[in-house]
């Protein structure tokens, strides 16, 4: 295994919309009760390129949308119906604002 930039360092180089808003509206809804009961793989916790899905010490899946870069990965990788994926609202939502792309 090699060392390199951490995902937190990488996300520090991403510009987001409405970064100052504390009440930003979530654009992705995750039914983590599915992740935490019947899901055999909890795949979003590793395939998400922005590490928005994490597992706590008790093995439970948590989701946060603030770091989401709208790539779409979880919408395809999740085959358990837990992810409801929409685009963020330009005014009230979060989401990415690529400077280079």
């Amino acid at each position: 295994m090699t060392t390199g930039m951490t995902i937190a360092e990488r996300l520090g180089r991403v510009a987001y919309r409405n970064q100052g808003r504390s009440d930003a509206k979530a654009h992705i809804e995750v039914d983590t009760s599915i992740c935490n009961t019947s899901c055999p793989h909890k795949c979003t916790t590793y395939v998400c390129p922005a590490n928005c899905y994490t597992v706590d010490e008790a093995g439970l899946v948590h989701f946060q949308f603030e770091d989401c870069i709208e790539c779409g990965t979880c919408m395809y990788a999740c085959d358990q119906g837990a992810v409801s994926w929409k685009y963020p609202d330009p005014e009230r939502g979060r989401g990415v604002n690529w400077q280079l792309g």
Partner: protein, 441 residues
């Protein structure tokens, strides 16, 4: 109705803006809506825009003060990696220095906003300077329908009407699914995920390191140890004063192998052949996006309906034949063809599915669908473990023997190759592969 548009385009990426350019040149009245702060703000690609369509869409684009692209491609390399080595096919040609360029590297936030500015210039010179609009920061919630016919878009409380809507919303095509052109759930094996970094290097360093001259550029694709056993490949493209480096990883295989894409990117960047190219660079931006696999089977069977057309990656129009990943040129051509169909429909005064079927025919007659069909075997081949794992190992073994000089009696190249093949596969397996590759490429 005065407010009615000839056409509404959803999405200010390459497909949408290419369609917009065609409509603007024909002096049609249209509305393009983009959900980002500016065109390109939500878009990511590798990225190389291949072919000559850009020169047709924006003649002499390379002459402007701000030409939008990063570098023109005159040097291409395909590298097969094992853990320690890189065996490459390398081609550089001065014929590729001539305009129009065969390919240009782009950064989408810059390129798409440049292309939008070119479209705006054409709008401003036409009779619809006041009422053809490129609107940003607008998210379309739904398509407005009248019976089975798409008649406009709905955004918040507002509805905008048009004779025809072009969906150019990208691979995460929620509206395309809403109207049933694509099923609501798209399975993981129809897509891959790309992860990428743009890494700054001083222009002089970049020029010396990659043997660039003026605005010439290198594209380098990687297979084998690039993806640490996950189906996919890597890329490195030179920009003005940065490189774009990243991986494209098959979604289903990434899931099965339980790997994190950013860990794989770290491993790729640490490969000795890649690390040397990146040394001293500073990461400017990290990005990721889903990308179509480039499999013809992923393209919906019908890309039109009453009052609506689907273009670009929203239609999964992308080719990954092993020679190159062609997503942006596919977006550009399909956008051009969609707009052409809209103009014919306007002339005929009929945007029913029967008339818009001409779009599907135009796609079928173009290189897009011809190549997608004729290279479908090559796509399968490139996605086979033999190709992305065994072949790179064989070539690197052979390379070490062939290029290594050890002051011992040496065997002949053919024997070296045979020995390398036997170590990782069977001669029969490689003979079959060679035959298939020769036929499919």
């Amino acid at each position: 109705m005065d407010d009615r548009f000839d056409c509404i385009i959803v999405g200010g990426g390459i497909a949408g803006l290419s369609a917009a350019m065609v409509l603007a040149r024909a002096d049609a009245k249209f509305l393009l809506v983009e959900r980002g702060e500016f065109c390109g703000a939500k878009n990511v690609s590798g990225g190389v825009l291949w072919g000559y369509d850009l020169a047709r869409l924006v003649p002499n684009y390379w002459e402007g003060d701000d030409p939008g692209y990063e570098r023109f491609v005159n040097h291409r390399r395909l590298s097969f990696l094992d853990e320690s080595s890189a065996f490459s096919m390398d081609f550089k040609s001065a014929t590729f220095d001539e305009t129009p360029y065969m390919g240009v590297t782009v950064l989408r936030a810059k390129f798409d906003s440049w292309l939008a500015a070119q479209v705006q210039n054409v709008i401003d010179a036409g009779t619809h300077a006041e009422d053809s609009i490129l609107a940003t920061d607008i998210l379309v919630d739904a398509l407005e329908k009248d019976g089975d016919r798409v008649v406009g878009i709905r955004t918040g409380d507002e509805v905008f009407y048009a004779d025809c809507v072009i969906l150019a919303e990208g691979v995460n095509n929620l509206l395309t699914r809403q109207i049933g052109i694509e099923p609501a759930y798209v399975p993981a094996d129809h897509v891959a995920v790309g992860v990428k970094e743009v890494i700054a290097l001083p222009e002089a360093t970049l020029r010396d390191r990659f043997q660039l001259s003026g605005l010439s550029g290198l594209t380098n694709e990687f297979v084998g140890a690039a993806t640490s056993g996950v189906e996919g490949g890597g890329f490195l493209y030179t920009n003005r004063d940065s490189v774009s480096v990243g991986l494209v990883l098959a979604m289903a295989d990434l899931r099965d192998k339980k790997r994190k894409p950013y860990d794989l990117l770290n491993e790729f960047k640490a490969h000795p052949a890649i690390a040397d190219m990146l040394s001293g660079g500073e990461v400017l931006e990290y990005s990721a996006h889903v990308v179509s696999t480039g499999d013809v089977a992923a393209v919906p069977s019908r890309l039109y309906d009453n009052g609506v057309l689907v273009a670009g990656e929203a239609a999964h129009l992308l080719l990954n034949s092993g020679k190159a990943i062609q997503g942006m040129d596919y977006a550009m051509r399909s956008g051009i063809l969609a707009a052409g169909t809209v103009l014919s429909a306007r002339e005929a005064g009929d945007a029913s599915a029967d008339t818009l079927a001409a779009y599907q025919q135009a796609l079928d007659d173009s290189y897009l669908m011809k190549d997608l069909r004729s290279f479908s075997d090559a796509v399968q081949l490139f996605h086979s473990p033999t190709m992305y794992q065994k072949v790179p190992n064989i070539l690197c073994d052979f390379g070490r023997d062939f290029f290594g000089i050890d002051n011992e009696p040496s065997s002949k190249a053919a024997d070296m190759l045979k020995a390398s093949v036997k170590k990782h596969a069977s001669l029969w397996e490689m003979a079959k592969l060679g035959y298939k590759a020769a036929r499919s490429l």
